[in-house]
Symmetry: C2
Subunit: 176 residues, 2 copies
């Protein structure tokens, strides 16, 4: 481990927005040379694969400004201060889709893009769903669509589902 | 589509480093209100699941500064200007592991974290590997480790493999 570790020499917050915090650090490389590292600080997030009793999967469709496109994804959201991932998953599922889950289990936990951010995502499978009302954030415009597994596979095949956490969630849930 | 689209009002480059470019944009929401969006611009990337003739999978171990840990991942790298993803995959595989692939096929293509970056990752499966020499970038310190599928599943199970593209690559290659 030690021979690969990079030591931080100094750290500077170069951008702090509503959502992103960017650090620009100088580090000491394992061979003694210096280099710079740019990091997007992130509070962590959850994503949920919601499966209805008739086997349909509930997906959310939303415009993703960063990619200038409308994407079909599993429900997801950021952890709020001190929140347990499973509580966040239950909250985000309810807020984004209106569904409450009586059964929720962990599928995986992973860094989304460790090359430049510390975002860690907790992935859950949700079953025994009961429908209520959506409670979206004020700048969220989301609609839900539910698809049978063979429809989901078709959406993946033709590139309509093209989001990493969604593909991984579906794959780990045995749906791909 | 139209009723979900966000229109850009103005865009400002708030950070431009060696690796990251951060935009801070004002947008018009579908309901006519205004909001801000923060985007990490990214050139796109590739990742490769390299499978040896004895069924072992070649992984790379490297210190990831953003997460302050040594991670075990499939080989990956950023697209260079105008480079075709498949050429980038062949190049990165050779540079990071020393292996040349006689057979390479596409597994998937996806946005890594569309909530805040336009990074699109092209995922490949590589077979018929011939060993040569690594050619690392000057600030890369990477070692390769090869594992049989049951060892890989154990590494996933105990959390030693915790990187999204690696889990997705292994899952889509039928190894999880």
């Amino acid at each position: 481990m030690e021979r690969f570790t990079e030591k931080v020499l100094d750290t500077k917050l170069v951008f702090s927005g509503k959502f992103l915090r960017i650090r620009y650090d100088h580090v000491l490389l394992p061979d003694g040379r210096k280099a710079t590292r740019e990091v997007v600080d992130h509070p962590g997030a959850v994503a949920i694969v919601p499966v209805l009793s008739d086997s349909r999967i509930v997906l959310v469709k939303q415009y993703r400004y960063a990619v200038s496109d409308l994407l079909l994804e599993i429900p997801a959201g950021k952890l709020e201060g001190g929140e347990e991932p499973v509580d966040c998953a239950i909250r985000e599922l309810k807020e984004e889709t209106g569904y409450s889950a009586a059964a929720i289990s962990k599928l995986a936990g992973f860094y989304t893009t460790p090359g430049f951010t510390n975002e860690f995502l907790h992935l859950f499978l949700a079953n025994d769903l009961t429908f209520g009302l959506q409670h979206l954030d004020e700048d969220e415009f989301i609609c839900t669509e539910s698809y049978y597994p063979d429809q989901v596979r078709q959406l993946v095949k033709n590139g309509r589902i093209c989001d990493a956490k969604t593909l991984l969630g579906l794959s780990l849930a045995g749906l791909l």
